[in-house]
Symmetry: C3
Amino acid sequence: MRITLKEIASLVSGELKGQEDYLIEGVAGLESASAKDITYLGHVKYEDLLVSNKAGCVFLPAGFKSDAVRNAIYVSNPQWAFVRILRIFAKERQPKMPWGPHSTAVIHPTAKLGKNVHVGAGCVIDEGAEVGDLTVLYPQCYVGRYAKIGKNCLLYPQVVVREDCEIGEGVIVHSGTVIGSDGYGYVLIEGVHEKIPQIGKVVVEEDVEIGANVTIDRATLGETRIGRGTKIDNLVQIAHNVKIGKHCLIISQVGIAGSSQVGDYATLAGQAGIPDHIKIGNKAIVIAQSGVMADVPDGAVVFGSPARPHREAMKLQALFNKLPEIYETVKKWKNENAKV
Amino acid sequence: MRITLKEIASLVSGELKGQEDYLIEGVAGLESASAKDITYLGHVKYEDLLVSNKAGCVFLPAGFKSDAVRNAIYVSNPQWAFVRILRIFAKERQPKMPWGPHSTAVIHPTAKLGKNVHVGAGCVIDEGAEVGDLTVLYPQCYVGRYAKIGKNCLLYPQVVVREDCEIGEGVIVHSGTVIGSDGYGYVLIEGVHEKIPQIGKVVVEEDVEIGANVTIDRATLGETRIGRGTKIDNLVQIAHNVKIGKHCLIISQVGIAGSSQVGDYATLAGQAGIPDHIKIGNKAIVIAQSGVMADVPDGAVVFGSPARPHREAMKLQALFNKLPEIYETVKKWKNENAKV
Amino acid sequence: MRITLKEIASLVSGELKGQEDYLIEGVAGLESASAKDITYLGHVKYEDLLVSNKAGCVFLPAGFKSDAVRNAIYVSNPQWAFVRILRIFAKERQPKMPWGPHSTAVIHPTAKLGKNVHVGAGCVIDEGAEVGDLTVLYPQCYVGRYAKIGKNCLLYPQVVVREDCEIGEGVIVHSGTVIGSDGYGYVLIEGVHEKIPQIGKVVVEEDVEIGANVTIDRATLGETRIGRGTKIDNLVQIAHNVKIGKHCLIISQVGIAGSSQVGDYATLAGQAGIPDHIKIGNKAIVIAQSGVMADVPDGAVVFGSPARPHREAMKLQALFNKLPEIYETVKKWKNENAKV
């Protein structure tokens, strides 16, 4: 694919300073971009990287001046401009998936497929399941009984969607992810952990993306829900009856225990743990590896295991580093006192 | 399905206070139950939730009085009574799985299937493997050479049981779980991590339940063993040669390193880590995110990373919060002392 | 299989003290070895275990004397000698995999298979993918468009290798692992996390082993790389654009965030977390559950969350245990001071 700088500038509503008919054939990072690539300056603080750049064109923040670039397109958000062009190149690379089920896919006669659905080799779509228009199921996926997958979804190879679960429009699910496994619920009766049947479901709202090898358990009764636009990284655990709000970021290896609630635009960073029946507020941030032990208010930032407000936690960490000095002083005082 | 309160009371040996021929058509939580549902009061402390309840019937603890319920059935353990009725409704929802292998399943001629075994589409059962009576393999499972799956087991889609592993009766395994992957064992020889072959197996005793995307490694020699009735949550790692006792609870994202042993009725809470060659006693509790560094005695409760006895850990956390006061005082004393 | 002690001694260049024609039929640990097994003394400190041993032969460190063994073979590294014999027994147990694709495998006409490739039942090999000579794909694996798998690789059931990814010679990948899932990259535009296409790839160099249910994300642009001889345990997360050096040990449940770099011969122990854009030096060790927050120099050992140099962290932990004493003293001083 080839595209002129004039076209690119027009696509991103940017101001081109350079050669209008210059041809761009690829996208790359600032340090590896060649004369055929377009790239971007992510932040003014990386300005030094421009000096040795060889890119065909660089997206620069409006008002920023540089003599080091071959061609520049000025935009308000260079990263976003770059992503929009990257999407064009990415789209071109995508395979043209043939519509209809592969001959080796096993589709129950009662299942309903929309228009232009791709069902890859070895997929299994069970009784009464529905798959919306233009959705792509890569090979070896499983869609359980009466599960509903919306339009324009993308399920990579070996995704499992168990019975009754609902996936909204435009959802992306990566390989190895399991949606709708049984919640972890038992009641101890005469020394035996008796299983509590898990007959609820999982509802994933539109525009959610779920990474690889994630587990999202179905509710005991009712539903586990992932809000619109939320993005879940790899190897995350979401237990039964959890409700996650809209546009959250749930980073890799986070675990959220049963019935907890996460507000909108919250961020749970890597390996953080949320116990059961906790509320995480809107726009709250739980820093990596933190172990939350109580509700986190809207907008709060918490850190540590147990988690404390971030500023307090950082102060305590600084004082923790002073324990040698503290102990030294305490010993001295004890000694002097003993002498007296 | 419809069932009268009289029948329900009889099934759970409860005392009905209400209309004997009242029809129940479903199960629900206390807050969402409708007039057609039965529900339960989990604990007396939730009594306030009864006020606005609309349930057709509520299981109540014997001796508890309430005017807020339409009908009540008194039992010694309302949750357990509820679970027993929930099981009846859950069973009714289960699909009638056809016996015998699906036409797309690949079953080695030497494999032995018991009576009334369901083998879903795309399953692969390898040489010499055995599957017991009434066991259900959902689609796309893999059963390795000479592996043995007991009677009445339930393997959800895309479970892997590697060669030689043994699964006891009544075991449930959720999607994406791998039983019998190689243990992580190497010996460093001239700068290269030389692989130690892992030729042992995994033995899962009866009535174990294993969540989604769990990994249980085969032993180097001998066996990795999961004791009867133990329940393992999603994304748990169990390394080679680990022995887990009976009726344990191993919560999501726990990791147990090589050759460690866990007693009976132990609880390892979410994201806890157990290093290699450690013994966790019977009925011991390792609190979430703890990092155990030494054996944990029977009945002990430990917390923290490194883990300490729970009371001690809590006291230290409280004193940790006092570090600002401590440091303030220490500084003051140093200043005063300096003046002198 | 039967092998004489004379043959074994010759294979490991050891010195036999015992019966040359004694027949060994198996391998076992020191405590469980029978008269037909060979075993080894891992370390002199386990000498006591020799007393009750019943093994047919024990590998002993050169110069070590024991009257408790039936037969002994003296070598410089008993574990390594044992592993070499173990490999012979392990090899004999391996199935003879038939060459060529199983009839149920789905192989795109443009895919290129080397000589003597085994493709198990239900595998899917997509457009333009390549698989090298003697590589074994167990059932139900997926190899994406233009992915390249080298010679002599071993992919256990249900491995996913996404498009364009490259796997070097002699690589072993365990079940449920996903190589090449999209990196977790978004840019927040008007309240929406807009996806950044991930069009890079993953390169796994030769002799790497990757455990079960691991996730390795493809780069946004360019590549995520795993260096030669590195061994990755189960449930590890490796984010986009990460570079891992040669011969590293990455233990179970470790998470490495985007663009971080790990040197050669580094060890990241269980559940450790590495944030984005961090450098871990050659031969550095990150102890279990640590949360790294800054670059780790070559050879450094760090511990804690946040991670500190190990000696410092251990000292601080020791002083942390003294907080009750410290606080007691501080209170006393405050009281006395108040009186004055």
